[in-house]
Symmetry: C2
């Protein structure tokens, strides 16, 4: 099927997905999990072909690892689908209820979005995660993974669709875009009236292309230029532990920090602890302003003089920018200028300063004396995370099933007309 | 100021608007209401100039009426601002609260959007409504009214801004775009990072331009191709009363019906009552399918043979399309194909059929035995309405203060790091 026909088929399916009972949707999820386990060979074969082509094309190891599936990974994906079936039903929740003019009974009730399109990059597990979340929330989904994982994605989507339909879900409730060309993504982005929500997941380039080109509703996700701000007074040992966790535990993720801000009055004391700890934990490049450069040099930590651009960079590597600030106001202004509204943390012993930071920093998640690495749907207890939104419309921060739902007003009368 | 500078000024103001206390914001609203009353002459003078130009340019009477201000209208606008100050505070609501990994205290708290841009057409009262709603919700606003009302809008925004700042709100919390060129609107639509939410209000052309051209988050509003479906069995007298109310009370609004669907088995009985009633109430053009044409002709009601296009038209006039359907399935399919997801009503005595219609029709507001004209923030008890959303992201149907808010996750720890 071409993209248009895929979307038309999904739209038709979506009205029937919306009325599928909770029991049917949960049974379908279990059946999908079983099917992944049963048909693991079909999936691994498709993945092997993708891997061979990717190696030929010279894909680097970290990306090859993201692309690669094995039996364990497929079984983990299946388990995640099973877990979804245990979550509470996001549909049919009565969010508001009242009697309006002349006795009309009004209810506001949660409903599916309709057709949800996902555009993502290397990891084929997103195919199953997205399909599962859409089945759970009564949405039809159209999946568009990266071209390197094209065969893996088609195989996974095929297995899941067959299982869901066998369990009683409507035909075409889960569809992968068959066309591997980039123009297929652009068609999804412009399919007004056919796509109710599009979620891009991937690098900054993909996301900004989607946001800028789309005419359908989009949730912008993921880019994280996050900061840790060490205020004076602060517990330097605590700041050091948080800095190492937030920078080094998994530098390639969006909730890792990219810039360290330190009050000038505490800079020598704080950086003398933090910089060597980061260095020992593998940080290779320190982009430092003049004051922190001097301190780094005294500590024999190799530092590069920072440029204005460094404050805006999402390194996603063992690399960090370091800047001294004159106090809370400058720190908040810096974060609000260069941050991407993702996750921001202050370490301080001063509760008033902390509350100002929490209130005035404009970000999805703001922390006092804790690591930015907690910004995650699982950590926040939201259940299955779809992504981390950096926009303020509809969903902010880690979002899950609730964000795949809309609502409708249902009104029951006995002949009332408006006066 | 040019558009860029206006937006930068609003963005700077927005961080201070976000921390303005409830008392300050409510005091500002009262001060804004007083200022409108005190400076009514300044506003009427600007409006007089707009009216003179509009008359010269040959603007039609209905639009001139929308543009026109007089003392009473300005006083009504002032009263609406006063009422806003009595509504509960949408900010600082704790929406969720829990303890996560290692004892970090997490709260999800409602926050302002930041910078809200409004793009609208003829009515200058929208300038004051939008400014008031943004002050109430702690947002900075950038207002872009129609060029015909340019001087009226600048005068109103000026009066309101001066009063808000005198009351203690930050400088530049309310700004009108000074540039009257159309390109100024396009700049707003593309101001990623400066506009957190853009709301277009106006005709279908304006709205689809905004949705298609915008790279900033938008709530699509207003276009209403609404249906009334008379199912068999139905109380024909009730159906007649609802049809007349929904079509004739205010044909120019988005919650008026544009198409009447009637079960074939009840068509002669129902249309013999409904068509003459609509005709008596001023409906001039009936776009009818073959069966309803025949019935209309027997009733000596002038009818035009309908084309496929008629099913998709939002007439906004005393004009209606009429179609006979084979039953509930065809009616639901027709509504889901041609409707704009606004307001849809079924008249029936059959509760099961009604529940299927309410569940399967994909629209913001679905009605059983009541007029679509109730779709309105005031009627729904939401307080000050900003618009009626026809998209499913973030806000659906009539939306008010709540839709101008986002949320943030606030996390307070004691040194926790992620395991």
């Amino acid at each position: 099927m071409n993209v248009k026909d895929t979307l038309l088929a999904a739209k038709e399916a979506s009205t029937r997905c919306a009325t599928a009972s909770e029991e049917l949707r949960n049974n379908a999820l279990s059946a999908m999990a079983d099917a992944l386990r049963d048909e693991v060979d079909r999936i691994l074969e498709a993945n092997k072909a993708d891997m061979a082509d990717a190696r030929k094309a010279g894909m680097k190891d970290s990306l090859l690892d993201r692309l690669m599936l094995d039996g364990n990974r497929v079984f983990d994906i299946a388990d995640a689908l099973e877990e979804l079936s245990d979550l509470p039903d996001p549909l049919g929740q009565v969010q508001d209820e009242r009697t309006i003019a002349g006795g009309v009974q009004m209810q506001r009730i949660s409903t599916p979005m309709g057709v949800v399109a996902m555009v993502y990059e290397a990891r084929p597990n997103v195919t199953a995660d997205a399909a599962g979340i859409c089945v759970k929330s009564g949405n039809a989904c159209v999946l568009r993974g990266g071209s390197a994982a094209h065969r893996s994605n088609l195989a996974i989507a095929g297995v899941l669709h067959e299982a869901a339909v066998r369990a009683g879900m409507p035909q075409n409730c889960i569809l992968a875009v068959e066309d591997a060309e980039r123009s297929a993504t652009d068609e999804l982005l412009r399919a007004r009236g056919l796509v109710d929500l599009l979620i891009p997941r991937g690098g900054a380039g993909l996301i900004s292309h989607c946001v800028e080109y789309a005419t359908v509703p989009v949730i912008e996700t993921g880019v994280g230029n996050c900061h840790l701000y060490v205020h004076d007074p602060a517990d330097v040992a605590m700041a050091t532990e948080i800095a190492v966790n937030a920078k080094c535990q998994r530098p390639g993720v969006c909730n890792a920090i990219e810039t360290l801000l330190v009050d000038r009055s505490i800079a020598r004391k704080a950086l003398s602890s933090i910089l060597p700890a980061l260095f020992r934990n593998g940080v290779q490049y320190f982009h430092t302003d003049p004051i922190s450069s001097e301190i780094a040099s005294d500590l024999q930590i190799p530092a590069i003089v920072s440029t204005e651009e460094d404050w805006a960079r999402e390194y996603l590597e063992l690399e960090i920018a370091v800047k001294c600030v004159e106090g809370l106001d400058e720190a908040i202004a810096h974060v609000n200028t260069f941050g991407t509204k993702h996750s921001e943390s202050i370490v301080t012993d001063d509760a008033q300063a902390a509350e100002r930071f929490l209130s005035e920093v404009d970000a999805a998640a703001v922390y006092w004396n804790a690591s930015t690495r907690f910004t995650d749907g699982g950590q926040f207890g939201l259940g299955a995370e779809i992504g981390i939104s950096t926009q303020k419309l509809h969903a902010r921060g880690p979002f899950a099933l609730e964000a795949l739902c809309s609502y409708k007003y249902v009104l029951r009368g006995s002949g009332q007309v408006r006066a």
